[in-house]
Symmetry: none
Subunit: 187 residues, 2 copies
DNA sequence: GATTTATGAATGAATG
DNA sequence: CATTCATTCATAAATC
């Protein structure tokens, strides 16, 4: 599922030949509409339904898919935010204290708590991932990785067999049958 | 998604240098294992214990933490789900008011009436990647794009396009302030 | 025609 | 689990 068939988008007379383009490019009408939504209406958080609506509508102006609309909004938002961040520091050396009263407290509180070091409380529904005080675990022979002599990659498990399983854990004996998923390093 | 023309994950054990790369990127072996688990074995809901197991095993193929495994599964699940959901028809009957500069409903900044959408909200990105050769829909009056009868967009699609046209007819009249942004076509 | 820029696309990470 | 943010890769288009 790479960049599938998003071909044949034509812009206002500057289209490419068929077969050479794979990346969607908004046609002028599409761009106009999208920008209108974003800037004029301040419409920046379209729900999936709205995305589909928009996409459906934009289809008459050229090939387009939902994900194009989605990405368009995402990228625009991200890049606007990015630009703002870059300007946070006034590059001028002049002492410009612009205290115009407006307590522009940008409440962009993204309480970043990067405390993901060891254990995380990913469990959202409270069913998984408990806080274990000790990171003590004796998984040597993992049930997930059956030691048939080779693991998923075909590498030999040189580790000790024996299986000191832990009680309570789902003992899923998944054996990966090493299916290449087309995942290779194509440099 | 199996996009292969992207990252150049380099090594298999020397990733994430200090300070330069803070974001984990799966090494090819790691990816292969993870995909094998997910797709091959249908293993999509790892418990915390299993996450640790997986992580432990993946460690021999590069730096990795539990949270990486966790996020990987979460993201893949979420995005796969999105894809499926996006195929469904849009049930919206809601009216996303999209009047740029017309119908002065400019009371609030975000005067979009996105209250209709309960909370359905499913993904909107990877829409349809599969074979969808020729489906094109006959849009008419979308609630999102109220037609006022005038075609301000004036897409000169009938002009010297010289290619396969946009296909759709311009029956939607979306009144945009065309001069708002100056660049509708930066091509 | 190689370099830079703009932007579509992908995905890891995070939040609620 | 759904949604959003941040960062990065990839590439068409513009620039030199």
């Amino acid at each position: 599922m790479e960049q599938q068939t998003q071909q044949q988008i034509e812009d206002g007379g500057n289209n490419q030949a068929a077969g050479t383009n794979n990346r969607w490019a908004p046609t002028p009408p599409q761009l106009r509409i999208l920008k209108g939504l974003y800037y004029d209406k301040g419409f920046k958080y379209p729900t999936p339904e709205q995305i589909q609506e928009i996409c459906l509508h934009l289809k008459q102006y050229g090939q387009i898919e939902d994900k194009n609309v989605f990405f368009w909004f995402q990228n625009l938002k991200a890049r606007e935010r990015q630009k703002l961040k870059e300007f946070r520091n006034v590059p001028v050396g002049g002492s410009l204290d612009l205290n115009f009263g407006s307590t522009s407290s940008t409440s962009t509180d993204r309480s970043i708590d990067l405390n993901f070091g060891s254990r995380v409380g990913y469990g959202a529904d409270g069913s998984i991932m408990e806080q274990r005080g000790e990171y003590h675990q004796e998984i040597e022979t993992l049930p997930l990785f059956p030691m048939h002599g080779e693991d998923i990659l075909g590498n030999m498990k040189t580790t000790s067999e024996g299986g000191s399983g832990y009680g309570g854990g789902s003992r899923i004996s998944l054996e990966l049958s090493l299916n290449s998923y087309g995942d290779a390093d194509m440099a």
